[in-house]
């Protein structure tokens, strides 16, 4: 149906009572759009000004007065002269490394777990599943105090790889259930056929199951890649001297620290938020899938 047809049909169906309800619906939607958009526009506006305080930032961005001063500063500022990359780029690269390693490890470990739990019966299976079920409900930073102590003792503070391992351990339980739910729906006759053809367990996994499980692994991979970007609490504890972007951002919003500068926060935040938003919106269609496969098939 073309746009013209749509509008024509719309007006044909209009009656007075319906008209009032319709107008109310639009008024509501417009109000919601204003509420949703105002802070966002303010963020954009603040990111592209050369103002030094948020008071001078116009609520609706003024295109004629745009300035890239904030971004220039963002990509050139070095806190010590000896470092190769500017602070922000450095934090960005650290986080990128963490996110990439996290993606690889989470996908490998949770696929193996999911495969084992969806295909085999073994002693202790229910107990391990129960443990996973319980663990996925606890935020992994509840043991933070201990993690901090152990890391300090073994010299792992400020080590991004160690931080990544905590993320991986925390992500395994939930993802195990997602993968298990998906793999249960892959017919077992495929495995049996492979077995008859003389495939080993490992070959069944790599040649039969994994190619079929690519969609769910993609879903997990994207989630795992997104997770570390704006996680603040764990890095703030175990990486006191090495920034991730979240720590970098928070430092500009912490009134107790001398770097407090909401304008810089706004520009840095916008730069980070845009790519994340695009991925999120693209991933939207998987959301409901992920929810249901986690919930009913548990």
């Amino acid at each position: 149906m073309t746009f013209k047809d749509k509008t024509a049909r719309f007006f044909r169906r209009l009656t007075i009572r319906k008209g009032i309800t319709g107008v109310l619906a639009y008024v509501w939607l417009l109000v919601m759009v204003v509420i949703v958009m105002t802070p966002v526009l303010w963020l954009v506006s603040a990111a592209f000004t050369d103002a030094t305080s948020l008071e001078q930032v116009p609520i609706i961005p003024k295109i004629s007065e745009w300035s890239l001063a904030n971004y220039e500063d963002l990509f050139t500022y070095k806190s010590t002269t000896s470092q190769v990359f500017p602070d922000y780029v450095r934090a960005f690269l650290t986080t990128l490394g963490i996110a990439s390693l996290n993606t690889v490890l989470v996908v490998i470990f949770s696929s193996l777990m999911g495969f084992s739990f969806s295909r085999y019966r073994f002693k202790g299976k229910k107990k391990v599943l129960l443990l996973m079920m319980a663990l996925q409900m606890f935020p992994s930073f509840m043991g933070m105090l201990a993690i901090f102590m152990f890391f300090r003792q073994f010299g792992l503070l400020n080590n991004p790889v160690a931080l990544t391992l905590i993320y991986v351990a925390g992500a395994i339980p939930y993802n195990t259930f997602i993968v298990r739910g998906f793999m249960r729906n892959i017919p077992k006759s495929l495995d049996e056929a492979a077995f008859i053809d003389g495939a080993s367990n490992l070959q069944t996994l790599t040649k039969v199951i994994i190619p079929l499980a690519v969609p769910i692994m993609g879903f997990i991979a994207v989630n795992a890649f997104m997770a570390p970007w704006l996680d603040y609490i764990l890095p703030s504890v175990v990486m006191p001297q090495r920034d991730t972007v979240a720590i970098w951002l928070f430092r500009y919003m912490d009134p107790r620290v001398s770097t407090y500068n909401p304008i810089k926060f706004m520009s840095g935040a916008l730069f980070l938020a845009v790519p994340i938003m695009l991925v999120q919106i693209y991933m939207q269609k998987y959301l409901i899938y992920g929810l249901t496969s986690g919930a009913d098939k548990g």
Partner: protein, 556 residues
């Protein structure tokens, strides 16, 4: 009115059921646990006796593995099992001996010390495992006196007093690790005994001893399910379970930041800290306040988000609205922006001086009217000139609380909007057609078809959202930072000295974070007690969820 009652009644019933379920489970569990232990012992000795009588050869092989792990395997001529087991023993002993000072103890050093001196053998001579266990039990010792181990400190010809202490925290950490490693060693040992016994029987039965290749192949095939999950389990063990265990143990000590480690010690105090939390009225008041607010916040932020999401989904999906995709695209925006960024953005929006909200109000010239309105509904406690202070005025606690729920609404509704839009699409058309034939009005259709259908499909998600919000650290920490604090006169002396009072908008988890990581507070044991309470709460809802999930228990 009637409906709310029935919902309330349902909740009450559900609560009763959960409690009853738990009660039964716990009593039965304890009973079964003891029964199993006792029966286990009895059966163990019966079996041992039987085995010794009926299969003396196999029994002696098991026995030799009992005396030296791997010896039984060697006697079975299964070197491929014996060698790894021997390696385990050697590594275990090597760690113990290389970190110990036994050699000095043996060389007769001890006898040189005066007899009246205090001397802690394991502390000074033990290796990683023995010292670990010693430290775990004692949490270290304080050395006070002029002579220790026959040594004196002499400065400018004057003998100084020794004052030094172990680092209890390091000892506790090493103790946990040593205990876990020893447990694993013992388990391996038990396995080796069993294996020596059973392998002998198997060789006797089949007359064939497995070769190395056959063994590797069998393990790879039969234990594949275990092999592929072991790496994950090790990670979870190291980075989640051991830290949880450590935090759990800290609750039974009196460790605070005031004890400067290396000079003072912390001790095991049993349930003292629990007593402080539940019996000391000062702490009980704060705990009660924080818990109530946490529950209220978790409940409200789940329900409001759900309701607004529902309304949005209904409106966008209604027949009056065209360009559905366009509206959805814009209204989804708060979901797509990362939570931390939106929360801190709102911190700026509600900032006292330069915040967007105060700017808008001032430009529209309605600051005073809004302030009066907020005062009249009781959100603003005290009139001050100038801008509205959203998050920082101790007398505006309820304003800050309301704002947190409102901001959470902004962040959270799109998720439910999308979810419910999805669910609305699954309602069969035929239901509505049947309702049309019966002459139902659209409100009746909503009440009897749409609402129950959506509620049924999304109920589990509401529960998950509730538990998520219960621990939603970011929503509080990034937005209000827990503030405003309580008015000074409402903070009891004992709490103020420590500086551990929560802010008015602190939920449990953010208070715990402050208690343990704010360097002026560092009340580790208190923080651990509260963590345990959260564990219990989440555990309860986990058990409730489990009891509902049938599919979990079905076998593959």
């Amino acid at each position: 009115m009637k409906e709310t009652e029935s919902i309330f009644g349902q909740l009450l019933n559900a609560g009763k059921k959960v409690l009853l379920f738990l009660y039964k489970k716990i009593i039965l569990g304890i009973f079964k646990f003891f029964k199993r232990i006792i029966m286990g012992f009895v059966n163990f000795f019966i079996n041992l006796f039987k085995a010794a009588k009926e299969q003396p050869k196999a029994f002696f092989k098991g026995l030799s593995s009992f005396f030296l792990m791997g010896l039984g395997q060697l006697r079975n001529k299964q070197w491929y099992k014996a060698i790894p087991l021997f390696v385990v023993i050697i590594v275990f002993l090597a760690i113990e001996i290389s970190t110990s000072n036994y050699i000095y103890a043996l060389s007769g050093e001890i006898s040189q010390f005066p007899a009246e001196d205090k001397l802690y053998f394991f502390r000074d001579y033990g290796g990683f495992f023995t010292k670990g266990l010693w430290g775990f039990i004692t949490l270290g010792k304080l050395v006070l006196g002029s002579v220790y181990r026959g040594e004196t400190i002499v400065i400018f010809d004057q003998i100084f007093t020794w004052k030094s202490a172990d680092n209890s925290q390091v000892l506790l950490g090493q103790g946990v690790i040593a205990t876990v490693l020893i447990l694993m060693f013992v388990i391996t040992w038990i396995f080796s005994i069993k294996d020596a016994f059973q392998s002998h029987l198997k060789i006797q039965e089949t007359g064939h001893n497995e070769t190395y290749h056959e063994f590797i192949k069998r393990v790879w095939n039969d234990f594949f399910a275990y092999i592929i999950i072991i790496p994950s389990l090790i990670l979870i063990f190291l980075f989640i379970l051991i830290p949880f265990l450590f935090s759990f143990l800290v609750a039974f000590t009196n460790w605070t930041g005031r004890i400067s480690l290396g000079q003072g010690l912390f001790k095991w105090v049993g349930f003292e800290t629990f007593k402080q939390v539940f019996e000391n009225p000062d702490w009980l008041k704060f705990f009660g306040d924080v818990l109530l607010w946490t529950l209220f916040y978790a409940f409200m932020s789940s329900v409001t988000v759900y309701v607004l999401g529902f309304i949005q989904a209904m409106i966008i999906e209604s027949k009056y609205v065209i360009f559905k995709k366009f509206w959805r695209m814009i209204l989804i925006l708060p979901w797509a922006i990362p939570g931390m960024i939106s929360l801190m953005l709102f911190r700026n929006v509600f900032a006292d001086n330069f915040g967007l909200m105060n700017q808008v109000l001032a430009q529209a010239g309605v600051t005073d009217q809004v302030k009066n309105f907020l005062t009249s509904i009781g959100l603003v406690g005290q009139q001050t000139a100038g801008n509205i202070i959203w998050f920082n005025d101790p007398l505006n606690g309820s304003l800050a609380k309301t704002l947190i729920i409102v901001v959470n609404l902004w962040l959270g509704y799109p998720y439910f909007m999308m979810l419910i839009t999805g669910v609305l699409g699954t309602i069969p058309e035929s239901l509505f057609e049947a309702a049309d034939i019966d002459g139902a009005t659209s409100s009746q259709k909503f009440r009897y078809i749409t609402f129950p259908w959506v509620l049924r499909a999304t109920a589990p998600v509401i529960i998950t959202t509730f538990t998520f919000n219960f621990n939603n650290f970011g929503a509080i920490y990034f937005l209000s930072g827990g503030g405003p604090g309580y008015p000074i006169d409402q903070i009891p002396q004992s709490v103020r000295i420590i500086g551990a009072a929560p802010g008015q908008t602190d939920i449990l988890i953010s208070w715990i974070y402050k208690l343990s990581f704010q360097s002026t507070v560092n009340q580790y044991s208190l923080a651990s007690v509260y963590s345990i309470l959260i564990f219990i709460f989440i555990g309860l809802s986990a058990i409730y969820n489990l009891s509902k999930l049938k599919s979990f228990w079905e076998e593959d």
